[in-house]
């Protein structure tokens, strides 16, 4: 007996309500962008400059006391949050202290950190600074530029590749799906105010990669079916292709999600934001390859004159023999 997440044969109609799906996507993107415009992202020090200190002590943490202890040091804007995680021991209390970027372009000097530690040691004896990270505003500005450039480059490179391998309509569809995924991911980070740092950029690019992976598999089948069923209209071919690849789409999403969820739960709080971005990305990426990429393709239409190369159907790489 096999575990089947998707029945053997499906014939869902994905496009009868395509306007609604595109509408939902557009609406969610607008919500994401408005949220981004209104409250912006909760940038980490990588992008904003400043210092974060991760403290660990055996005493329970009173954020108010910490705040009062730190205030006399005159470090400017300081935020303190307690971190909870199921992987911590019972007497392991972790807090993140974030200090704003100091006036000059440099990182915070070591003496200030020592002062901070001595001050906190009074209220919480034996407190340890398990990590101290400080980024000067000079670097953080550049990191923002590099990050934006990286995402733009990735999308551009992919656009070109798909254009070369398929038709331009496919490339546009795929890129529309990518932009959709990136906007929604940034949107949810803005909406939930999750810390947005360099690792999240890596997650964004991974989402780009994953979403594409999904889209390309569907498109590959569309290309094959377009050659096989010359008489069927495009909507029918698209529907057929998505149904045929549905089982695979669900399988891969589930295995990937299984892996990511175990990392989310057990991987510790340091990378939780990063893993959250990827889980979200896998979900919207799977959705977008069906409801955005393919819908855009339907909307743009495809040139159907494949007659001259019909006999190499579906396999431009030829047969590679193992």
């Amino acid at each position: 007996m096999r575990l089947r997440l998707v029945p053997q044969e499906t014939s869902f109609d994905f496009f009868s309500k395509w306007k609604i799906w595109l509408g939902i996507s557009a609406l969610m993107m607008v919500v994401g962008m408005v949220s981004f415009g209104l409250q912006g992202l909760n940038f980490g020090i990588d992008f904003r400059g400043g210092t974060t200190v991760r403290t660990e002590s055996t005493q329970a943490i009173d954020v108010g006391v910490y705040r009062d202890t730190i205030a006399p040091l005159g470090l400017g804007d300081v935020s303190i949050t307690e971190v909870f995680d199921p992987t911590f021991e019972d007497d392991q209390h972790v807090a993140m202290i974030r200090i704003q970027a100091q006036a000059n372009g440099e990182a915070i000097p070591g003496e200030v950190i020592e002062e901070l530690q001595q001050a906190l040691d009074v209220v919480s004896p034996g407190i340890k600074f398990v990590s101290v990270e400080s980024v000067g505003p000079k670097v953080s500005g550049e990191l923002v530029q590099t990050a934006i450039l990286a995402v733009a480059l990735a999308i551009g490179a992919v656009l070109v590749y798909i254009w070369l391998r398929f038709e331009w309509q496919f490339a546009l569809g795929a890129v529309a799906a990518l932009v959709h995924d990136v906007v929604l991911t940034i949107g949810i980070f803005s909406e939930l105010q999750i810390k947005f740092d360099l690792a999240i950029i890596a997650a964004l690019l991974t989402i780009v990669g994953y979403s594409l992976n999904d889209t390309v598999v569907v498109f590959d089948r569309v290309r094959e079916n377009l050659r096989r069923y010359k008489k069927k209209d495009l909507a029918e071919v698209l529907n057929l292709s998505i149904n045929e690849t549905l089982s695979r789409t669900v399988m891969t999403s589930v295995t990937t999600l299984l892996a990511l969820i175990s990392l989310y739960v057990l991987g510790g709080d340091v990378i939780r934001g990063f893993v959250f971005a990827m889980i979200w990305g896998v979900i919207v990426g799977t959705y977008s390859s069906v409801f955005v990429a393919s819908t855009i393709l339907l909307w743009l239409g495809v040139k159907r004159d494949w007659s001259k190369q019909a006999n190499t159907a579906g396999n431009q790489f030829g047969n590679i023999d193992a």
Binding site: L3, E106, A107, F129, V132, A150, L212, L258, L260, I271
Partner: protein, 553 residues
């Protein structure tokens, strides 16, 4: 159909076996690490029975390369420093000034008397009393320029000299500034490396980044401040003639002189000539020592040219004081008692033993040519790193088991084939990471977990395709064959696009992000390899043995 040549089979298994062998040391991380460290110590410091015993913990016929653990996993300090390349311009000009003076002196009849004026750092401004002699003055000063021999600067000279009214301005030419910047950063890099090596920590990363930055990562060090103390000071040692001594930090120094504080005498300031007699660059050795009173001091020795300059100066200036200056602070200003000919001497001051040892190290490693500005500092404690490793391990194992079970339930026997491939896949990733000496970071572990989830994709594509082929009535052999060949284009397209993003991430990212890009990129390659070669070979071998009339995928 379904035939694979013997040599291909051998090759595929060989690749897998090599991958497993290369990955093996990582399973015994501490043991192999101790063995490797001991082996390195034997080479560096000689053989001892204890070291020999440690080396023998790991058999020498097995590969011993390990995956490097990144700072976020091992703990340590990370610094990004910017070299203040402009610092050098001023020193260059100060060094040039005596030459300019000597060259213009014989020309007094045409240019008149001349004085050095206040000027921004990195410029010499010169006022001549006979502006009509400007042409001759410029000619003479330009005669001091050296041609630059570089690809871009062919025919250019190292200084730019311009005259305006009665003022001559001398500064480094743009081409020379670029060349100088490059030299400065390279020297700084070399000196930072030497200083860190003197302390002797394991596997530091010291890289140039961009035009004028240096990235320094040292695992196992307590904090970024500690690391800064080792590399942060310029340790620019100079011996300058003393012009005067006073208590006013803002005293007018006179052109070509500077006022600097004394370390051990609070409130005292020395006026010294800016151009040093000798600099620390000409030191060949420096050792901690004790002076005649038994307090800590540093012994030093000059090279031949330094010894000559020092000897000449002391011979000419017996009875006058000179200053030993470290990083623009006077350490001591003894009066020259006699001609010091041998080129060696002793620096005394109020040193503690530790300070004198530290100073000797700094002097030996050489001075940084320019100051460093620290743009980024990160310290990660070893406990946090260990916590991350532990959490990462558990998460990876759970992810692994979940995917294995899920695949077996979904595809039965074929799922088991895919599972073997998945295990091989992770082994291959670790094998390659060890082979290229890549660094595993926390996001890198996430990359591996993600790969575990996504690696089955290629197999899923193939298996789904085989199912379709069976459904459309093909025989088992034909279905498997068609499944593989038809899924191929989707597999390649999908993975190439993901690979493109991994490459961009690698090129643009830094540190942990790069670690993620490496594992993701490697994971894509190994998963494609295992899917289209390894599982295929397994299925073909199974098929040959059983010859089933009917298959269920």
């Amino acid at each position: 159909m379904l035939q694979i040549d013997l040599w291909k089979r051998v090759l595929i298994w060989l690749v897998c076996l090599t991958g497993l062998l290369l990955a093996l040391p990582n399973g015994f991380y501490t043991r192999v690490e101790q063995s490797n460290d001991a082996a390195a110590e034997i080479i560096a410091k000689g053989d001892t029975p204890e070291r020999q015993a440690l080396v023998e913990q790991w058999p020498s016929y097995l590969p011993s390369s390990l995956v490097n653990l990144g700072l976020d996993l091992r703990g340590g300090a990370h610094l990004l420093a910017e070299v203040k390349v402009e610092d050098v311009y001023g020193a260059r000009m100060d060094a040039l000034w005596p030459e300019v003076r000597d060259a213009l002196r014989p020309e007094r009849t045409t240019v008149g008397s001349f004085r050095r004026q206040q000027a921004p750092e990195g410029q010499i401004r010169l006022k001549i009393s006979k502006p009509e002699g400007m042409a001759r003055a410029l000619e003479v000063v330009r005669g001091l320029a050296n041609p630059i021999t570089s690809l871009t600067g062919a025919g250019a000279s190292d200084i730019a000299v311009s005259g305006n009214g009665d003022i001559i301005t001398i500064e480094l030419s743009e081409v020379e500034k670029l060349a100088s910047n490059d030299r400065t950063v390279r020297q700084s890099l070399e000196i930072v490396r030497r200083r860190i090596d003197e302390v002797g920590t394991r596997e530091p990363t010291i890289q140039r980044q961009g035009a004028d930055r240096i990235l320094i990562q040292v695992p196992g060090i307590g904090s970024a401040s500690e690391l800064k103390a080792i590399i942060g000071t310029t340790a620019q040692l100079t011996f300058n003639p003393v012009v005067g001594r006073g208590s006013d930090p803002d005293a007018s120094a006179g052109v070509g002189n500077k006022v600097i504080p004394a370390v051990d005498e609070p409130g005292a300031y020395y006026t010294v000539e800016a151009a040093p007699v000798v600099t620390g660059e000409e030191l060949v050795d420096a050792q901690p020592a004790f002076d005649q009173n038994g307090s800590p001091a540093v012994n030093f020795r000059f090279n031949t040219s330094g010894a000559r300059k020092f000897g000449d100066y002391t011979a000419d200036n017996i009875g006058s004081p000179f200053a030993i200056v470290l990083d623009d602070e006077v350490i001591s200003a003894p009066v020259i008692q006699a001609h010091i000919a041998g080129g060696s001497g002793i620096i005394t001051g109020n040193f503690s033993l530790e300070e004198s040892t530290q100073l000797a190290i700094l002097l030996r490693a050489g001075a940084l040519p320019a100051g460093l500005e620290f743009l980024e500092e990160r310290t990660i404690g070893p406990e946090l790193g260990q916590d991350s490793i532990d959490a990462g391990k558990i998460a990876t194992i759970v992810a692994f088991v979940a995917v294995l079970v899920f695949m077996a339930l979904s595809y039965g026997l074929f799922g088991l084939f895919a599972n073997v491939a998945l295990i091989l896949n992770v082994a291959l990733i670790f094998g390659f990471l060890s082979l290229i000496g890549a660094t595993l970071t926390l996001p890198g572990i996430a990359g591996i977990v993600l790969t575990v989830g996504m690696a089955v994709d290629a197999n899923v594509l193939i298996f789904e395709r085989i199912r379709e082929e069976i459904k459309s009535g093909r025989g088992p052999a034909r279905a498997i064959d068609e499944g593989y060949s038809k899924a191929l284009s989707a597999i390649l397209d999908a993975n190439i696009t993901t690979f493109i993003t991994a490459v961009i991430l690698f090129a643009m990212g830094s540190g942990p992000v790069r670690g993620f890009a490496i594992t993701l990129g490697l994971g894509i390659m190994t998963s494609v390899f295992t899917a289209i070669f390894v599982t295929r070979l397994m299925i073909v071998m199974w098929f040959e043995r059983r010859r089933p009339k009917k298959i269920e995928v």
